[in-house]
Each structure stands twice: as structure tokens, then as C-alpha cells.
């Protein structure tokens, strides 16, 4: 009896656990209706097709932890992706590794500028990134100059998304690697804990000697870096670079964070939560066409599922807070 209670407490005591349960229920229901869902190939396909969103969710986690927001990321991605596409189209750079470095560097630069305006210029994040959303998207159009890069222009570069290391697709591997690195950094390093400290109480963090604006600058730079990386990845995955790529997808990234229990007001959220959140979003996108829901109803169903998961998450949080409070009273 006591054991039962403690398991129950564990489940209600952790947002991640409740997400995991949602995830398992989703998977069971889907594989019941479509047995091909739970195959290795199908899962790899899904992860590959959603890797870009999943990676950017990590950066957004950092931004949201500080109570900020960044809606310029899809534009940064398009800018770096178009740059990679154009470099390949006109045969300026052909080395895949170098192209990735360029994309990452460009993304970091974009993120740094955003960070400077927000952290040093004290502009509200939503306003600043709204401006940069247009600027970077515009730059993507400018650098493309009314041209697209298609599969044929991309030469060897597009094979990157098909390659495998140790049986795992390259793109999926990069995504997993990002998650491992972030998990370690956010949990066990000084810098990761600083983000949480600033996010939960900025004044207290400042008094205890943390340079809060530097932490803010770093978070947006990291976000930009990841968006830049994803620009190159998206070009490889879809074998196509167009200036409107991933238009509006910043909302999916924010949704993934919210599903994963990351608080929009800062201070709350974990890498595991971000992973589960973006995974749930990916599964929904993959499964809706599979289980035979009418195409035109899919977006509505997607929205309903997101809401249900978030509400469930909030309820769990309340129960958790209540339990914690009880503990204190006793």
C-alpha cells in the first residue's frame, strides 16, 4: 500500500513522468491503429523529419528559462540555409564540414546581435525578435536573389542526411548529441545552473554576483547558433533551399517547449521535458495522417491534443505544488 502510494506520488510529483505517460498512451493508441508506426524505420523517419524543430527546442528552452522569447529563429534558419544553398549553387564552397561551420557561425552571429539588443539594449525580447524575424527573413530573400537551390545544385551535401554512423542516421545523431550536451550542461555545469538562477529570480542572481545580462546574451547566441546549424540540416534533409523555408515554425518550437512543461515566465523547465515535448509534437505530426484522420481535420486535432497535454501538465504542476506545500506544513 505504501509502495503504491509512493509510485503514485512519484508520477504526480514529476511533470516529466506525466509527459512520459502521455507519450506511451499516444504510441499505444497509434500502433494499435497503424502497426507500421512502431518500426525502426518509421521512428527514424519521424526523428529525421522533426530533427530541426527538436534541436531548436533546446535553444528555446534556454530563452524561455530566462522568461524571454525568440520568434526570429525560423528566419535565422532560413538565412543560414539560403546561404548554404547559394554557396553550393554557385560552387563557392563544396565541403560539407565547412558549410556546416559557416551555417553555425552565421547563426551565432545572428543570435549574438539579437542578444546584444535584448541584453545590452534592454529591448523587450518579443519586440526585438519580431524585428529580427523580418530582418533575417529579408536577408534570406536578398541572398537568394529570387533563386532557389534545388537537389541538383546540392551535390554531395544532400547525402549527409542519408548517411549513417553506427546505424543511426547522421541528422538524428546530431540531434541526440545536442540533447546529451545540453542535458549535461544544464544539469551539472555552473553555466547551466546560472541560467536557472537568473530565470527564477533575476535580482537575487544579480546580488549573488551573476552577470545577468551576460547570461542573457549567451542564451540568445546559443539559440542563434542552433538555428544556424538547423539551417544547414534543413537544406540537407529536404534537398532544397528556399527563402520561405520553415515559415512560421517558431510557433511549433515554442509549442514543443510548452508541452514539455517549460514555463513561459521563466525559471521552470528541463532538457528532458523539452525532449519529451518535441517528441510528442513530432509523433502527433507523424501519426495524424497514419491513423486515417481526415486531412482537413488534422490541424484541429493537433491543436486539441496540444491543449490537452498542456492542461494535464498544469494540473500535475498544481498537485506537485500542493504536495510540496503539505510537506512544508507538516
Amino acid at each position: 500500500m505504501k509502495d503504491n502510494k509512493s509510485i503514485w506520488k512519484k508520477i504526480t510529483g514529476s511533470r516529466e513522468a506525466s509527459l512520459l505517460i502521455v507519450l506511451i498512451i499516444l504510441c499505444v493508441v497509434i500502433s494499435f491503429r497503424s502497426p507500421s508506426f512502431m518500426t525502426l524505420k518509421s521512428i527514424t523517419d519521424m526523428l529525421k523529419n522533426n530533427a530541426v524543430i527538436m534541436i531548436m527546442t533546446l535553444g528555446m528552452l534556454g530563452v524561455l528559462l530566462l522568461g524571454g522569447i525568440d520568434i526570429s529563429i525560423a528566419s535565422t534558419l532560413a538565412f543560414s540555409g539560403m546561404t548554404v544553398g547559394m554557396l553550393l549553387k554557385y560552387n563557392i564552397v563544396e565541403n560539407a564540414f565547412l558549410l556546416f561551420l559557416i551555417a553555425i557561425g552565421l547563426g551565432a552571429l545572428c543570435g549574438l546581435v539579437v542578444g546584444l539588443v535584448i541584453a545590452k539594449g534592454k529591448v523587450l525580447p518579443i519586440i526585438a525578435t519580431m524585428g529580427f524575424m523580418y530582418i533575417y527573413r529579408g536577408l534570406a530573400y536578398l541572398i537568394g536573389n529570387s533563386q532557389w537551390a534545388s537537389a541538383e545544385n546540392l551535390g554531395e551535401f544532400k547525402n549527409f542526411a542519408l548517411g549513417k554512423v553506427l546505424g543511426i542516421n547522421n541528422v538524428v545523431l546530431i540531434m541526440l548529441l545536442c540533447y546529451v550536451i545540453f542535458f549535461i550542461v544544464m544539469k551539472w555545469t555552473k553555466i547551466g545552473r546560472k541560467v536557472y538562477a537568473v530565470g527564477s529570480n533575476r535580482e537575487a542572481a544579480a546580488i549573488s554576483g551573476i552577470n545577468t545580462s551576460n547570461v542573457e546574451l549567451m542564451v540568445y547566441t546559443v539559440m542563434g547558433t542552433l538555428a544556424g546549424l538547423c539551417g544547414a540540416l534543413a537544406v540537407a534533409v529536404y534537398s532544397s533551399a528556399q527563402p520561405n523555408m520553415l515559415y512560421g515554425k517558431e510557433m511549433d518550437v515554442i509549442a514543443a517547449c510548452v508541452i514539455g512543461g517549460v514555463s513561459m515566465t521563466g525559471g521552470r523547465g528541463s532538457v528532458v521535458g523539452a525532449f519529451l515535448g518535441s517528441l510528442i509534437l513530432a509523433i502527433i505530426a507523424k501519426a495524424l495522417p497514419l491513423v486515417g484522420i481526415d486531412s482537413i481535420a488534422q490541424n484541429t486535432v493537433k491543436g486539441v491534443i496540444i491543449l490537452v497535454v498542456v492542461i494535464l501538465n498544469v494540473v500535475t504542476q498544481r498537485v506537485m505544488d500542493k504536495n510540496n506545500l503539505k510537506g512544508r506544513e507538516m
Partner: protein, 360 residues
């Protein structure tokens, strides 16, 4: 102090960007603006000046629209007219409305527009027609009340027929096939799909089974999900037909990467699809169709010219000569307006893709 310096710097930067922005635009539009003023003067003098023809595409940054405008400009300039090319910054009706309004105040003689929305442009286009401007649509139409005529890149039935025959040919006459479309509201795609369903009622196609119409919303990511879902839901699927450029590209990539036996056809851009077109098993698309955007632009230009010089009024039965493209007739359109049909869609196969991929 620091703040003051910063704000001064910001101001300088802002003025700088403005100056640079204006500077680069001036080079292009200066001559046009000058020519325009000259035009009005000449018009005042004796109505012998050059006519001004404007084309409004769907949005900037798209090679297809670019080619369309290129064809339009080429004809207008060859015929001795003044051409204004406008690419709205976004593919929305709003962006087009403001472009139309600026063209009205410039006093152009004609506007040819690829409408981003069938109904939302009505007020702006009616205002233009009231101002004596000849309004035609090309590529994508506005409703019958908003235009004098419409240059249709390919008749709905012609496209439906070409795609159905391609499906019949590639499946070998029987089997399952599916459609991967854009959004469920896309007017063009829905008309083509309806037409294909109509044509399919013929006995010739009786052994074909259309299993699903999937919508990829013209997003690579969603189109990829939809294609993979089609593959795992229907193991016996033989052909996917994607009458949208984004969808066909995403589907081609999925099929070719998976070395699937499922084949693909539809409507796609040659430059985007060059990698996937081929007869052997290593390529996912044996052949596909599209119209030639340069020709759409050229026919649009001849139509504008004919409207302005009064050869046609946009009524059904009007006839005009479109330079070396031959003779065209204005016919009734399904929506109660009129249209000029360019012709059957153009087939891109392994033999000609090499030359077309560099064109657009």
C-alpha cells in the same frame, strides 16, 4: 553619456540604411520614373506617348514569378511599351492591394495580376477599372467582377487529362494511386483534382483506384510526413500524383531516398525536379508537367496590349494575335467571367529536362 552615444549611433545607422535602401532602388526605378513623367507630358500634348503596362506577381523571391515577369517585360518592351514589374513582399492579398493602389495613382494603362486571393482584391481592382485601367489576371485569377479577362496557364480539363493519362501510363493501366495536394483550400489544386475525378469515370480508367487525397500544405516537412504515411498505409500503391511544386519535390525526395517502387508524377518546377526525373529505377519521377511561365507572361503581355489598344474588350468571342505565339480567342470561363487559355501543359521528361532545368 553612454546611452546618448548609443542612440546617436543608432540614428546614424537607421538613416544610413534608409539612404542605402533608396540608393539601390533608385538605379532601377529612376529611369522608369523619369520615363513616366515624360509619358504624362506627352499624353497631355497629343496622346502619342508610350503606354505603360504593369505586371503584379504573387510575391518576391520565387523563380517562377520571376520568369513570368521576364516574359511579360520582354514582349512589352519589344512592342515599344513601358513595363512596370511589381513583386509584392509577401504572397498575400494585402500586399497586392497596396501595390495596385500605387499603380492606380501612377496612372498606368493596364495591370496584369497573378491574384493571391480570388475575392479580396475586388475593391482595389474595381477602383483600377473605374480609373480606366485595363485589368487582366494571369496564372491565378481574381473573381469575374474584378477582371476583364484571365490568361489561364492551362485549362483545368487539359491539366486533369494530362495527369490522368500520366497516372494510367505509369501504373500500367491498373492499380492503386494517391494524390498529394497543397492545402485543402487551394483553388487551383482542387479544380484539377475534381477534373481528374471526373475524367476517371471513363471506362479506360476503371481499373485505377484512387485511395486517398492527402494534403501537405505546401510545406516540405508536412508533405514528407504525408508521403511516408501514404507509403506505409498502402503497400500496393503504384503512383503518387502531386499537382503542386512543393509537394512533388518533397515526395520525390522521399521516394528516391527510400528506393521505393512507387513512382511519381504531377506538376513541378524543372530546376527543382531535375535530380529526380529519369526512366530507370534510381529516379522516382518518369515525367511530369508544368506550363511555361515565360509563355504565361508573354501571353499576358499580348493580352494587356490587346486590351489597351482596344482589339479586345475581354468579352467571349474576341480574337487577337499574340505575336509569334499565334492567334488566341477569349472564351467563357467556369466562374462566369472570360479567359484566354495558353494551351496544354508542357511535358518534362528525361530527354528535355537537361535543357529546361537551367531555364526555371
Amino acid at each position: 553619456m553612454k546611452k546618448k552615444v548609443l542612440s546617436v549611433l543608432l540614428c546614424v545607422a537607421m538613416v544610413g540604411t534608409l539612404a542605402v535602401g533608396c540608393g539601390s532602388k533608385d538605379e532601377g526605378s529612376d529611369s522608369k520614373a523619369d520615363a513616366k513623367t515624360e509619358d504624362t507630358q506627352k499624353d497631355d500634348a497629343g496622346d502619342s506617348g508610350k503606354k505603360t503596362y504593369a505586371i503584379v506577381t504573387k510575391a518576391a523571391g520565387n523563380p517562377y514569378n520571376e520568369k513570368e515577369a521576364e516574359g511579360f517585360q520582354e514582349v512589352i518592351e519589344a512592342e515599344g511599351g513601358e513595363c512596370i514589374v511589381k513583386h509584392p513582399e509577401a504572397a498575400t492579398a494585402d500586399a497586392q492591394v497596396s501595390v495596385i493602389q500605387s499603380l492606380i495613382s501612377q496612372g498606368v494603362d493596364s495591370i496584369a495580376i497573378a491574384a493571391n486571393d480570388e475575392n479580396a482584391l475586388q475593391a482595389a481592382l474595381e477602383e483600377a477599372m473605374d480609373a480606366g485601367i485595363k485589368v487582366s489576371c494571369l496564372d491565378s485569377k481574381a473573381n469575374a467582377d474584378s477582371r476583364q479577362t484571365f490568361v489561364n496557364q492551362a485549362g483545368v480539363t487539359e491539366i486533369g487529362q494530362a495527369l490522368m493519362d500520366a497516372v494510367l501510363d505509369i501504373t500500367g493501366g491498373e492499380g492503386q494511386w494517391a494524390i498529394l495536394s497543397a492545402t485543402s483550400q487551394a483553388a487551383n489544386q482542387n479544380a484539377w483534382i475534381d477534373s481528374m475525378k471526373e475524367i476517371m469515370k471513363d471506362d479506360k480508367y476503371s481499373k485505377l483506384e484512387l485511395v486517398e487525397v492527402a494534403y501537405g500544405d505546401d510545406e516540405p516537412q508536412k508533405s514528407t510526413d504525408q508521403t511516408q504515411a501514404l507509403l506505409s498505409k498502402y503497400p500496393d500503391l503504384k503512383v503518387i500524383c502531386a499537382p503542386t511544386t512543393v509537394g512533388i519535390n518533397a515526395a520525390a525526395k522521399v521516394l528516391q531516398d527510400e528506393k521505393s517502387s512507387v513512382k511519381l508524377t504531377g506538376l513541378g518546377l524543372p530546376s527543382e525536379m531535375a535530380e529526380y526525373i529519369g526512366d530507370d529505377d534510381a529516379h522516382s519521377c518518369p515525367y511530369m508537367y508544368l506550363w511555361n511561365p515565360i509563355d504565361v507572361g508573354r501571353l499576358g503581355a499580348y493580352t494587356s496590349i490587346a486590351l489597351v489598344d482596344g482589339t479586345i474588350t475581354g468579352a467571349a468571342g474576341d480574337q487577337f494575335t499574340a505575336g509569334d505565339m499565334g492567334d488566341y480567342e477569349v472564351v467563357e470561363a467556369d466562374d462566369g467571367g472570360t479567359e484566354v487559355i495558353l494551351g496544354a501543359p508542357f511535358k518534362f521528361d528525361p530527354d528535355n529536362i537537361g535543357e529546361w532545368k537551367d531555364v526555371y
